[in-house]
Every structure is written in C-alpha cells, then in structure tokens.
Symmetry: C2
Amino acid sequence: MRKVAESTIRRLSLYLRFLEEFEGQGMATVSSESLASRGGTTSAQVRKDLSFFGSFGKRGLGYPVPELVERLRAILGLTRRYNVAMIGAGKIGSALVQYRGFRQRGFDIVAIFDVDPAKIGREWNGLTILDIATLESEFPQGGIDMAVLVTPAEAAQPLTDRLVGHGVKAILNFAPVQLVVPEDVVVKTVNLALELETLSYALASR
Amino acid sequence: MRKVAESTIRRLSLYLRFLEEFEGQGMATVSSESLASRGGTTSAQVRKDLSFFGSFGKRGLGYPVPELVERLRAILGLTRRYNVAMIGAGKIGSALVQYRGFRQRGFDIVAIFDVDPAKIGREWNGLTILDIATLESEFPQGGIDMAVLVTPAEAAQPLTDRLVGHGVKAILNFAPVQLVVPEDVVVKTVNLALELETLSYALASR
C-alpha cells in the first residue's frame, strides 16, 4: 500500500465519526459535500482522501453510508478490539483510564501498571493497579496490543524497550521524549505543551 | 511569512527542548547532526527546518546554542507568557491543570470555569473554579490569551463563540467536534481516541 500521510488518516477517522452519526440517523447515502462541510474541509479533499483506498460511491449518487462505514473501519483497523495497557498511574493516566472515548472505539484498557508501592493494589475504574515488575508474568506475549505510556521522561525508554521485547507493537507516548523503537513498532507521541506551542507560534507569526 | 507546515513547527518545539538541555549542560555550539540524532530525524531535515526562518550558524562550526535558543523562542512566540483559561472542570481538565509542562513553557492557567454548581467554588491547584456565567465579568476583554476547552461536545461551539466574542484568539480543543471560528482565531483539536486510531491504522495496514 502507498504511504498515506497521517493527516489523511486523521481525516478518515473524522469522516468515520460523521458517517456513524449519519448511519444512526438512517441516512442511506451522503455526498462528499456533506461530509466536507461537516468536517471543515472541501469535497475535493474528501474525494482525494477516499480515492487512496479504492473507489467508493457513484458519481451523482453520493457514497453509500453503511458500506463506507464498513470500509473505513477496515482501513483504520477498527474491525477488531485492542487490549491496551496503561503504563503509569499518574494524573494523566487517571484521566485517560476514565476516558470513555477509548472503549467506544474498540480500545479496552485491560491493565494499569506503576512502580510506586503506594499506588500498586489500588483500584481504578475496576482495575487493580499492578506492579510493573509483573508485566511479563501477568500478560502472555501478545496479550497486550498497545501501550499508553504516561511516565516521567527518564523511565520512558527503558519501559519502551521492555514493552517491545514483550511483543507490544504500538505505543501512545505522553512522556516528553522521542522514543527509539524497531521498525515494526509504531509510536505516536502526544505532547500537550507542544500543542500550546503550535498556538503561540500562530499568534506570534501574525 | 511563508506558510510553514505544522510538522515543521512541532520539530522546532522539539529542537528548542533539546537545545535548552544542551544550554543547561554549558554547550556553546551544536551540529545539525547532534540535533537530528536527538530528535530522531536527519541533519538535512534540521537544516531545512531552520532555513525557513533565516540563516543560523556557520558551515563547519555548528549552531551557536544560546543564540538558536533565543531565535526559536522568538519564532515560537515563547518570549512572553500567556494567560490560559481552562473551560470545563472534568477529569481531563483536572489532569491538565496539574500538568507542570504548561507553566514551564510560559502558559499560566489563570482560571478554571465550569457550569456545574457542585464544582463551582471548589479549589483546584490554588484556583477556585468559577461559574462560566461570570467569564466576561471576571476577565476584561484581552485578559485571556488562550482557552483550553474540555467540555462535552454539545457545549463546545457555543462556548467557543463566547470566547471568541470576548477576544480569545487561540483555543486548544479537547471536545470531539470541529469548531468553527473566524479566520483570526487559531484552534488546535486534540482527540485522544483518534491518536489511538493512527496506531490501529498502522497495525492494520501492514
């Protein structure tokens, strides 16, 4: 498959959300214009984004909603569920564990790990916080599909190495470091201060 | 100024972090290679990114660290501090208010607003949660530089309209909606489930 830009993938995720709403309202077809206006983009962009993945819909008839929902779910890897481990039981971790959006999209947080004896054994959202030392014994190789890393910066790389060694292929990283991983592992780093800096840049560059 | 891609701005933010570390270690100059290896990119990319903003450094001598720090801070709008209002005192809001990374980078959370009488009046991190109805009376026009929006989806657009009407020019949005704003207002939307979908896409497209 051709390399697809992350911005395209993000728009596909948004289109899927809108299409699911349309499906819930019983709509059978939708035009690229409707999808575009809902998503704050242009119909040409919608058609271009979808064309990466084959041909959808018929000229003049719009896109068939249920079919497009199904195709986008398949493209985005959302036809299955994922077991997600939360690594780090701090403030951000606590907010994320309670975030319903993950489960709604097929991401099940199945474990929370920490290194702090004061936290280990506590219950969060029905899950007992586990000792990170037991990661490998609690979960068989392949039992965790993704990890959400919410640890201090200095702990992030060693933990990543352990996760990768244990077969984890995808990491959502909130630690303020660039993680080094083998080629077959995907990492997405979220840095909240950096998000604000894209705003301060925009304000300053006017 | 030429339109600069957001991915470039994000890399500049990272370079600045590394340069500040180097500065803390007393380094006078740094090569594009060192910056690149620290940031998981190539030296050609570093030179290209910096070239957008003029000429830095001398061939063979590397970049002067303190000068480059100063220039990047200016480019990113980080030579001043920003008053940030948190709109919504939920779980994510709670984590963000305690997040030290914001203040470290010059973003001061000066107020937290909510609509829930059970939350209004409570203290969070030294700030009293205020009634959103008092937004305009508590802060003069221009008293808030940025807002972080952590509200339910349906509340996000009406609140955005109020913030924009009150002179807020930059919004970091965690609500799962596309906000509509005038051209002179910048919005950055963070959708955490969507971040996981970029990972599931990567796993599925192998």
